[in-house]
Amino acid sequence: MTVPAVEKLSRWQLFVVMVTFELGSALVVGVGNDSRKDAWLALIIGAIAGLPLIWMVSWMLRLYPGQTIYSILKITLGKWIGNLLVIGYVIYFLYLAAYVMRDFIAMMNAAVLPRTPAGIIGFTLMSVVAYIVYLGIETIGRMAEIFAPYMLLFTVAIVLLCLMSGEINLHNLLPVLGDGWHPIIKDVFPAVLGFPIGEMPLILMVLMAYIKRVDKGLGVGMAALGTGTFLLIISIVLQISVLTADGKARASFPLLNVARLISTAEFLERIEPLVVFLMMLGILLKISVFTILGVQGLEAVVQVPYRHFSFPISMIVAFIAIVHAKSFTDHIIKGTRMLPTYFHMPFQVYIPAVLFIILLIKHRPTKGKVGEGT
């Protein structure tokens, strides 16, 4: 009774994990910089494009209740190809964890702890992540549940403080569609769709297996996508209206720059570190989720409980996070040039789509059964 045999997430927990996950690093780094003033529009289009992805993923997981995408891959494509793809996913997730981690380290060095070596920050943060991963999925769900209200509160507080200090200038958003649809569409596919929208179906692929009623997964995913996008749009509108589109594009951490401009009531002059720490909660959760997705994949491949991997794999993530780019500029270039096309698209869209088609063909004769199951 001390440790339940099967871990379970409640639907609310899954929802909160997905929303904090989407906000986690998207609040820190700018989203949709290529769409300039219409970044919010790009986000809406991205979200709409994300809906079929979520539907596709939840349809597949509903066919095999209680199974993650990893076991479905292995069941459908056979042991060899399945395992190969699972390892691909593991590497992808761990790389994303490392990528987010690098964002965070850079932010810490820029804003709060300028003299602390990146290695120390990486080691301490990843140790905490390892502990969270060791405690398991339920812990992540519950931590998201606890931290989500604060993150929401903080977003609202920033908006209110900006309003109070009179920095918001909505004219910065105009004209809408000044450059036409073309740059927006180019930005959405694949950049915005890959990050942050496409990350939602990614976690749904694994975590949906843990909710009690799999048939509700689709609803949860849609709701989380909607809420997360809404909150992101608020933050983007805030960034653009305070910093202008150019300022936002130039800033490494736009929301931090927004916070820097806030000064109200003489007392709250520098709330910037506070902003950093609240963002840190989101980032911590995001890295934990990526890492746990990764070690779950490893569990599927080598059949060793994922808790055993938590510390070793976390150390790899910390290592990769610092080593993978020579400088922050290099890091951003890799993030914009490599990630969307060569990483996000295959793992978020192509592989699930192929799997979806295979499953669709496989389950056509028993269509009636599937219908009953839904």
């Binding site: 593991v90 790389y95 990486g122 080691f123 055993h308 070793p312 790899i316 610092i322 780019a325």
Partner: protein, 78 residues
């Protein structure tokens, strides 16, 4: 098993970031490797920690397995 997996994942990820760097910077393998690791030898301590942790995990798993087997044998003999 944990150690082996750990080593595999580490090698694969390390190769991956070097290949990514080769693509982006249009460098050769060795140049990328040297540039990425420049001044970062201390970070290999992480890999040491990870290795240690995975070895401990492996020993733990093996011991538990043996204990389980022993208790099962005992149960069977009774």
């Amino acid at each position: 098993m944990v150690t082996a997996t750990y080593a595999c994942i580490f090698i694969m990820m390390f190769l991956m970031i070097i290949i990514v760097d080769m693509f982006v910077a249009q460098d050769s393998f060795m140049t990328s490797f040297k540039e990425l690791m420049a001044g970062r030898q201390k970070l290999l301590a992480y890999i040491g920690y990870g290795l240690l942790a995975s070895l401990i995990s492996d020993i733990g798993i093996a011991r538990r397995k043996r204990a389980n087997a022993a208790s099962q044998e005992e149960g069977a003999s009774k």
